[in-house]
């Protein structure tokens, strides 16, 4: 794949993927860069539409590639244990 995937990167924030990762391999696609919730990252002028198209095509490629293969589910228990130390709620706690 042309899209770089970092493995074993810990997320400090509650991404939705955190909960999925307990049950199946999960990849989070993000576009980084300094942004604020209500300033820089939140006006239409800051959008790179090309990046949206490129990421969409990268995910499509990934899905097509995965679809051809048999996937063995393996969850990295060590990282989950580490992350769980900071997790105060679970899917049942809503």
């Amino acid at each position: 794949m042309k899209y770089p995937i970092s493995v074993n990167v810990r997320s400090a924030e509650v991404l939705d993927s955190f909960f999925f990762e307990r049950y199946l391999p999960t990849i989070s696609f993000q576009r980084t860069g300094y942004y604020n919730h209500s300033c820089l990252g939140n006006t239409l002028e800051v959008i790179d539409y090309e990046s949206i198209e490129r990421t969409s095509r990268a995910i499509k490629e990934l899905v097509l590639e995965i679809d051809k293969k048999k996937i063995e589910k393996r969850i990295n228990k060590k990282i989950l244990r580490e992350m769980n130390k900071y997790l105060e709620f679970d899917i049942c706690d809503l």
Binding site: S6, F29, R31, T32, Y34, H37, T43
Partner: protein
């Protein structure tokens, strides 16, 4: 789907879960998904949220508007203002009962830990000019604030020039717990087979924000992927979802509700999930995070 028109419409205002604005966004999304050619299902759920009420920092006779952080306890703190540049334990020593002003919101893990063990009265963070320029939650904030003694708010950075260390102040933070309704949208490619690939993005925004990059652009990617995959002949079924209540108290609410409801299928049929969260920022760099092997 025209990306520009889509994002302009979906990010035309805040999409805070439990509000009419989220409802408007959901209806728009349903139409877009149907236009691509899929049948979409709305899965409603209720959740508890902490809704900010009147909150302020009073220094002398002047009141500055502040916004309670997502997990802040309601409360009132009187104490001296103390500006600090770092939240390491050395810096917090001797500030018992003080209202600590930290003109940023980036924290090292060790700084969260030192906050947890400190005896400060409250904290005012000032990441930007607007009140909402701060994350509404993190694991650390939650742990810390639920210890039950901390009042935590954000303040517009421009106000900091009018406040000095040593001044006496009152910090009042009020939030109200409310039961709100939100929804997830779920649809799939409808292909048979024994396995499902999950692709999802949250559709709501933080309060006071249009949530353009976080996550209107993420939803745009999701729908574009959906459009692209429609033309392909896949062996596996692909389940798409947009989640609500990601940004409010009980963070990632929609995804947890989804998992609870569909856990059997996810465990039995799901070889992979793809999450799309924060996209489109002009100066950003793409990355994909994977904690699994």
């Amino acid at each position: 789907m025209d990306l520009k028109d889509f994002i302009k419409e979906i990010a035309s205002g805040p999409r805070v879960s439990g509000t009419e604005c989220e409802e408007k966004a959901l209806s728009f999304l349903e139409k877009c998904i149907e236009n691509i050619g899929f049948l979409v299902k709305r899965e409603n759920f209720s959740f508890e949220a902490s809704i900010p009420q009147e909150s302020y920092l009073q220094v002398g006779n002047v009141r500055y508007e502040v916004l309670p952080l997502g997990y802040s306890k309601s409360g009132e703190v009187s104490g001296d203002i103390s500006f600090i540049e770092s939240l390491e334990s050395d810096m917090l020593r001797g500030l018992d009962g003080c209202i600590v002003v930290y003109p940023d919101f980036f924290f090292e893990r060790s700084e969260y830990e030192s906050l947890l063990s400190s005896n400060i009265g409250g904290i005012v963070i000032a990441p930007g000019d607007r009140l909402a320029d701060a994350p509404t939650y993190t694991f650390f904030w939650e742990r810390w604030l639920e210890s039950g003694r901390i009042v935590a708010v954000t303040i517009g950075k421009r106000h900091l020039y009018k406040i000095c260390s040593g001044e006496e102040a009152i910090l009042v933070s009020r939030s109200e717990e409310k039961l709100l309704m939100s929804a997830n949208l779920v649809w799939d490619t409808g292909v048979g087979g024994n396995e499902d690939i999950y692709i999802f993005a949250h559709h709501d925004s933080v309060p006071h924000s249009w949530g353009v990059t976080d996550n209107a652009c993420g939803v745009a990617v999701l729908l574009r992927v959906c459009e692209l995959l429609k033309e392909e002949h896949l062996r596996r079924n692909v389940i798409f979802a947009t989640f609500g209540a990601h940004e409010l108290r009980g963070a990632a609410g929609g995804s947890r509700v989804f998992l609870r409801k569909h856990l059997n299928e996810v465990e039995k049929r799901g070889p992979l999930a793809i999450n799309i969260d924060v996209q489109g920022y002009k100066l950003g760099l793409n990355r994909a995070l994977c904690n699994s092997q």
